[in-house]
């Protein structure tokens, strides 16, 4: 390889320095929010990420005082996934457990909690 060609390749590689780089996909917000107290049954559980999750390898579960709560089919929107809460949600603490992967394919897992308290 000539010196000029090598310098040209090196310059092209250095130009890629300006590209914005993403680390692994991360959770940005959730609904219900972590540690929130919800008055009544939440309509759905939704989690937003820094990238659009891959539906084929993503899932979410909701566990409450009576065990696992039935959720609807997983839906993927721009940078978020959600599922309707179909089962009953009596007062108590609930834990949302999620698993998803972004563009790099690395599986990410997490969980957070919220509470349901019916207004009286």
């Amino acid at each position: 390889m000539t010196r000029r060609m090598a310098m040209g390749v090196a310059a092209a590689l250095l130009m890629s320095f300006s590209v914005t780089v993403l680390a692994h996909m991360k959770l940005t917000k959730s609904l219900p929010a972590a540690d929130a107290v919800v008055a009544g049954k939440p309509a759905k559980v939704q989690i937003w990420f820094t990238e659009t999750p891959d539906k084929a390898v993503s899932k979410v579960t909701l566990t409450g005082p009576s065990g696992e709560v039935k959720l609807g089919a997983l839906a993927i929107d721009e940078k978020s996934m959600s599922a309707t809460v179909d089962g009953a949600t009596p007062d108590g603490s609930y834990k949302v457990s999620w698993q998803a992967a972004g563009d790099d394919g690395h599986q990410q897992k997490g969980e957070y909690s919220f509470s349901v308290r019916q207004t009286r």
Binding site: A6, V9, L13, S16, V21, L22, A56, A101, G105, Q107
Partner: protein, 280 residues
């Protein structure tokens, strides 16, 4: 650093070693064209076939391991199918599978021992492009291109070192002929090492971001280990170059030490690509 050595790193180590060795076999064959070609062509062909076979096994193992991570245990058939056929990761994995299968097929051609290596050369290029599809390089076109360039020049440098070390082994090794090949390889090795440093430097700055993260994060510490292994390769390479440029035959021991450094570099790289990088 314990978390860095994930299950997915293990088949990746084999995959990276196989990719670099295959590229090295193609490069060594090209270097051997003008002298004592038959000896080197036969050795390179055998190494290329073994590398492609190992690469294929590693790609298949990666699918199983990735599915087991998704399933959080032994994957059933449904999970395996969903991962390799329906997920975004699986779509890119299929390209890697095709690339390694093509590499094996083209390394099995009869013309290789006569010096006809255009097929494996194209396969090496395809395999190089497919390699960064699973991992950090998948997030943008520019990252993919930089990763692929890094793999190509590293393969042409470290892969060829490994192949020449393998060719130096055994009672029928033609060390004087290898000396001539190494003399022709040295300027190429220097150029590829420089390009690997540039592309690796771009990736390191992009993924690490600061000196504090270089020593304070698992990714940074594995990167430092990788650089140490590269240093071993460079030192042994210098010794080999001094011997062969002075007209001496290469010492098999120094070649093999250089190859060991190359192996350690590939191991550290595989672990790096499974480690979350601190930047971003």
């Amino acid at each position: 650093m314990g978390d860095s050595l994930t299950l997915e790193s293990l088949p990746k180590i084999v995959a990276y070693l196989a990719t670099l060795t295959y590229i090295g076999a193609v490069t060594a064959a090209a270097l051997g064209r003008s002298s004592h070609g038959a000896f080197l062509f036969a050795r390179c062909a055998r190494v290329a076939r073994l590398a492609a076979l190992a690469g294929l096994a590693a790609v298949l193992a990666r699918a199983w391991v990735h599915a087991s991570i998704v399933a959080d245990g032994v994957p059933d058939r449904e999970t395996l199918t969903r991962v390799v056929l329906e997920s975004r990761w699986g779509g890119r994995w299929q390209w890697q599978l095709a690339a390694t299968a093509a590499a094996l097929a083209l390394a099995s051609l009869r013309g290789l021992t006569r010096g006809v290596w255009i097929g494996p050369a194209l396969a090496a290029l395809g395999w190089t492009i497919a390699t960064p599809l699973l991992g950090h390089g998948a997030t943008s076109t520019w990252q993919h291109a930089t990763h692929a360039a890094h793999v190509l020049v590293t393969g042409a440098w470290l892969g060829t070192v490994a192949v020449l070390a393998l060719a130096s082994r055994g009672p029928h090794a033609d060390l004087p002929a290898l000396g001539g090949v190494i003399a022709r390889f040295s300027p190429l090795a220097l150029t590829c090492a420089a390009l690997a440093a540039v592309s690796g430097g771009v990736l390191a700055v992009t993924y690490v971001g600061s000196v504090a993260d270089l020593v304070g994060s698992p990714y940074g510490r594995w990167l430092l280990l990788k650089l140490l292994a590269v240093g071993v390769v460079g030192a042994c390479g210098f010794v080999n170059w001094r011997r062969t440029s002075g007209g001496e035959a290469p010492a098999a021991g120094w070649l093999q030490a250089e190859a060991l450094g190359a192996v350690l570099t590939a191991v550290a790289t595989a672990i790096l690509t499974e480690t979350e990088h601190p930047a971003g």
